[in-house]
Amino acid sequence: MTSKARMKILVVEDDPDMMEQMRIYLESEGYEVVAASNQKEAEPLIRPGAFGAAVLDLMMENPDSGFVLSHRIKKMDARIPVIIVTSVTRETGFYFDKARDPKDWIKADAIIHKELRFEQLKGELRRLTGAGEGHE
């Protein structure tokens, strides 16, 4: 646990159990979770200073809910790291890869493919919220 003020992370996930598990992991890492269970619920939470990073499920009430939310967050503050969690590859054969397709249409800093490994999420969050590191 870190002793400094706990960073708030916006987590948007429509499966209540995945949300609960995410909360347990993130809290154990010293983060505070701001939870929303769908796009509609998340939208009013996107305010300056409300959270320092976001973890978004991709497919919720709309197949691109995660991308829409990510776009809103980046428009508000481009420095806030956004991680999109998706199983879309498995289910549609559609592949997103920031390294291979660095174009700006995906407004997210990292895309993690389900089945989500919490270790990976932890690592990405550490990397993206790393103290003093600049953003592109």
Partner: protein, 393 residues
């Protein structure tokens, strides 16, 4: 082209060594059209010709036609030889032309896949009638192929969604197992009660999905063994109401059966239970605290009962109502969060109702409630042969 009726060309190859025959056939088909209103098409013909077997094979190799008019007696080989050597012989319809309509030729040609025969000499009308028959057959085949492909796509989509629906609870339970394995909440077992509770719930949902899937598969395959007897629907409805009583109490929903004291119908009791249980479960699940669910049964003539299940629940919007009967469709909105279901209940209901000649009609008002209506008729008594066959198997 801006014709109101789209005109489709079928490619016809005429193979005959007599120049007069070739020219005559070409003239007969020139400007000739066949209307196929069943398919919304009008068909015309473009004609190619060949005078020997070798030339015919060359034409067939260059492009596979739709229809081949094939003379049996060619200078270099027989029509049968052409068919045997033709590339893609399964892809065109052959009409054999024979000077002497011999049975032997007919049999051999049919074995080689000839579609029809024309005996020389024939009139332009006879040729057109035969070609019309061939055109219709080609379009029937194409339609069948299209339907087959659509069916394949529906199956594919079903399996894709099914995999997703099975994977979600699996991922949830797996996640909890990892949390427990890592003792994320410390060494006390009580700390994990909620995780265990949720895991049990998700596994239960998965079991329900698998059971519903089996029911649906049995219904679809028509393999379900039916035990038709005289069933008292009033009693079946009371039993189904008892089965949802606990769930209704937890949600503070009042369940009522409104029926004559006795209401006999020739039916399979298991199927009737599927119908009533599905109706009542939905009426309770998608309800509000303090709401009501009413199952009404009314005799509607001999061997016919009308069923109506209405609730004072959350209701549906027009848009939601329109997609209600799709497989795995579960309404996702702020009112339905936390309501479990396989998404197959209404598909099952509709299939079982169809066994009793009933069509399920749904109506709903958003925020006020929904109502499902259907009419059940005496089930047919299965043929005794089928019964013995089953026992013998």
């Amino acid at each position: 082209m801006s014709d109101p009726e789209p005109l489709h060309l079928l490619d016809v190859l005429i193979v005959d060594d007599e120049a007069g025959m070739r020219a005559g056939a070409e003239r007969s088909l020139e400007g000739f059209t066949v209307a196929l209103p069943d398919f919304g098409e009008t068909v015309a013909f473009s004609v190619r010709s060949a005078s020997t077997g070798a030339e015919a094979l060359e034409e067939l190799g260059a492009r596979t036609p739709d229809i081949v008019l094939l003379d049996y007696k060619l200078p270099d080989m027989t029509g049968i030889d052409v068919l045997a050597a033709a590339p893609g012989a399964a892809d065109f319809l052959t009409i054999m032309i024979t000077a002497f309509a011999s049975l032997e030729v007919a049999v051999t040609a049919t074995k080689r896949g000839a579609f029809d025969f024309l005996a020389k000499p024939f009139t332009p009308e006879e040729l057109r009638a035969t070609v019309t028959k061939a055109a219709r057959s080609i379009y029937l085949q194409r339609k069948a192929r299209r339907l087959e492909e659509e069916k394949r796509q529906v199956r594919f989509e079903f399996i894709r969604v099914l995999a997703h629906e099975l994977k979600s609870p699996l991922a949830a339970v797996e996640g909890y197992m990892h949390l427990m394995k890592e003792r994320m909440k410390g060494p006390e077992l009580q700390a994990y009660d909620q995780m265990i509770e949720r895991s049990v719930t998700r596994i239960g949902g998965m079991r329900k999905l698998v059971m519903d899937l089996l029911d649906l598969t049995r219904l679809e395959s028509g393999r379900k063994k039916r035990a038709i007897e005289t069933v008292d629907l009033a009693r079946s409805a009371a039993l189904a109401a008892d089965a949802v009583a606990e769930m209704a109490a937890a949600r503070k929903v009042e369940v009522k059966v409104d029926s004559p004291a006795s209401l006999p119908l020739r039916a399979d009791p298991g199927e009737i239970d599927m119908i009533f249980s599905n109706l009542l479960t939905n009426a309770v699940k998608y309800n509000k605290e303090g709401g009501r669910a009413v199952l009404e049964l009314r005799p509607a003539g001999s061997g016919t009962v009308s069923v109506r299940c209405s609730d004072t629940g959350i209701g549906m919007t027009e848009e939601e109502l329109a997609k209600l009967f799709g497989e795995f469709v579960r309404m996702k909105n702020e009112h339905t969060r936390g309501i479990d279901g396989s998404g197959l209940g209404l598909s099952i209901l509709r299939k079982v109702a169809a066994l009793y000649g009933g069509e399920v009609r749904a109506s709903s008002r958003y925020g006020e409630g929904s109502s499902f209506e259907l009419t059940l008729r005496d089930a047919e008594i299965p043929a005794p042969e089928a019964d013995t066959a089953l026992k013998g198997a």
